[in-house]
């Protein structure tokens, strides 16, 4: 009961903030709504019993990505980006004409139908799957998997990140005249 309530809260936070991100005209406000949406997703993970993933979600997105986005928005002008243009319905900032909206709508429809198909088949495989009321420790399992089964992917991604770090340092380095 309590877990279901938390799930509903997280889900409504995620969806509500995601809608707010799309319809807000101020780009800084969109960033903050995105923060709420990402926290809601962390809540969804937590109610499904994936505590480590939930905390990592908060750590990476709230602590890193959103602050980075706020920095980026501010360095490029911030609130001057309030859009005055209107779209077809006069709701959101204008981002295209009726052709782009038409294409977007049809693609979205295809995605929706595929997802419905997928989710229906999942409910057939796990007919009585409930929300995780027991929370076994996922930290140890993730650790074992990372250094045993997925060690190659783990090492490759860390080399990639190190490369990105070194590249950023080289780009940002003051050039000699």
């Amino acid at each position: 009961m309590f877990v279901q309530l938390l799930f509903l809260l997280s889900a409504s936070l995620t969806i509500g903030c995601a809608i707010a991100v799309a319809v807000t005209k101020n780009i800084m406000h969109s960033c903050i709504f995105l923060l709420g949406s990402l926290i809601g997703i962390a809540g969804l993970y937590a109610t499904l019993g994936a505590d480590f993933v939930a905390v990592t979600q908060i750590m990476v997105y709230v602590g890193g990505i959103v602050i980075l986005m706020l920095f980026a928005v501010m360095l490029t002008g911030g609130k001057d980006f309030v859009s005055r243009a209107q779209n077809l319905l006069g709701l959101a900032p204008s981002m295209g004409n009726k052709w782009t909206y038409g294409v977007g709508l049809s693609v979205g429809l295809v995605f929706l139908l595929t997802n419905v198909k997928l989710i229906l088949s999942i409910s057939e495989y796990f007919p009585e799957k409930k929300f995780g009321n027991e929370f076994p420790s996922t930290v140890t399992q993730i650790g074992h998997l990372l250094v045993k089964d997925h060690v190659l992917a783990f090492e490759l991604s860390s080399v990639l990140l190190l490369g990105a770090l070194v590249g950023a340092a080289i780009i940002a380095r003051p050039r000699k005249q």
């Binding site: 009961m1 309590f2 101020n26 800084m28 903050i32 905390v55 920095f71 609130k79 930290v139």
Partner: protein
């Protein structure tokens, strides 16, 4: 499994009495217990935050050979209540050009971020709201909301001082998160788990079992953690975001009344939380100086007192440092973080890993006493 306060209390007999009072509704009882204890802890921490401002003034007065606040109550100890009343009754001014939504949101985010960390703070090995498997990781993650709030407070005020303070604050907080997190990681490595229960369980007994004296690398890690934590909470000598001689008051320049009070309260409680984490990770937390299997509520209260003593001693050191060291420059701040603390922290992490492999995770004391 995750230990919680409710699962701890359920081993006592009075839990059954309470359960029958609630008509055998376990969920409702658990919710009520959490609610009551959350109220107690938030109230306690708000008081500690308030007393922190008083302690700050009194200790600074001692260091500068003044008397300090002495009018309200005995020794001026009620000064923080008077300040609180003053802040609540003050006019709530908002700059005309401020971003209203973000301006209101920023102090709330600061308080939410700080109060959320209290959920995993171990007052004793039984009195801990939720001993999550990812406890210390959760604490690091959720406290990054404070960084967002500092940035937003600076941005939303639409003032140059606030803007500079907010930018400095955000960059400082994300930079110093790295050495702090790596130092904490080396302790997780020694303890073999991220929950506070595991970490405290490894440090039971005499002070030689504390992680501070576990090995030389852990000893250095404590100081890296402490310096990094000072910077993360914007305390002097790293208080550049609110440097009063150059930025008026930094990111909360434009805030008045209780909204300013929220920022100040969040800062003082964050210092307390950071000191508490330091005492739990390195100084044995609330563990009794002897090992016992005997477990009753009064003994838990003794543990709470021990934890508070260690934490408040660290709190004293934080204030002491503030009033004895001059403030750094911005470039010195960044070079200390990236050129000194981060390499030292990484060196500590590698050293701890090697130590765990070579000596099978035994501490110096265990090796000296020849224990196998």
């Amino acid at each position: 499994m995750n230990q919680t306060l409710v699962s701890y209390l359920s081993q006592y007999e009075f839990f059954d009495v309470l359960l029958s009072l609630f008509g055998k509704n376990e969920g409702l009882l658990a919710f009520t217990i959490y609610l009551v204890f959350a109220g107690i802890i938030v109230g306690l921490c708000a008081t500690i935050g308030g007393l922190g401002t008083y302690a700050e003034r009194k200790i600074s007065a001692d260091i500068q050979q003044r008397i300090g606040p002495n009018r309200v109550g005995p020794y001026g100890i009620l000064q923080f209540l008077a300040d609180g009343v003053k802040m609540i009754t003050k006019e709530d001014i908002m700059p005309f050009t401020a971003d209203k939504f973000l301006f209101y949101l920023a102090p709330m985010l600061a308080l939410i971020g700080v109060f959320s960390t209290l959920a995993v703070l171990p007052w004793s090995n039984g009195f801990i709201m939720a001993d999550l498997n990812v406890g210390i990781f959760y604490l690091i993650a959720i406290s990054s909301l404070v960084g967002v709030s500092v940035f937003l407070g600076g941005y939303a005020s639409n003032s140059k001082w606030s803007m500079l303070g907010g930018l400095r604050g955000a960059s400082q907080i994300i930079s110093y998160e790295i050495p702090v997190t790596i130092s904490i990681l080396s302790i997780t490595l020694l303890a073999g788990g991220m929950s506070f229960g595991t970490i405290l369980g490894q440090q039971e007994g005499a002070p030689v079992h504390w992680f501070l004296f576990h090995n030389p690398f852990a000893f250095i890690a404590f100081f890296v953690y402490f310096v990094g934590a000072l910077a993360e909470t914007n305390r002097a000598p790293f208080d550049l975001p609110e440097a009063e001689s150059e930025l008026v008051s930094g990111y909360h320049t434009e805030y008045t009344g209780m909204r300013f009070g929220f920022f100040a309260l969040a800062e003082y409680i964050e210092v307390f939380v950071v000191c508490g984490v330091g005492s739990a990770l390195f100084l044995g937390g609330g563990n009794l100086p002897f090992s016992t299997t005997f477990d009753i509520i009064p003994l838990q209260l003794v543990q709470v007192v021990i934890f508070m003593t260690k934490t408040l001693l660290l709190y004293y050191v934080v204030i002491w440092v503030r009033w004895t060291f001059p403030r750094l420059r911005v470039d010195q701040l960044m070079s200390i973080c990236w050129k000194y603390l981060t390499p030292i922290a990484i060196f500590n992490l590698v050293g701890n890993a090697v130590w765990v492999v070579v000596f099978h995770g035994k501490s110096i004391a265990e090796l000296l006493s020849g224990g196998h």
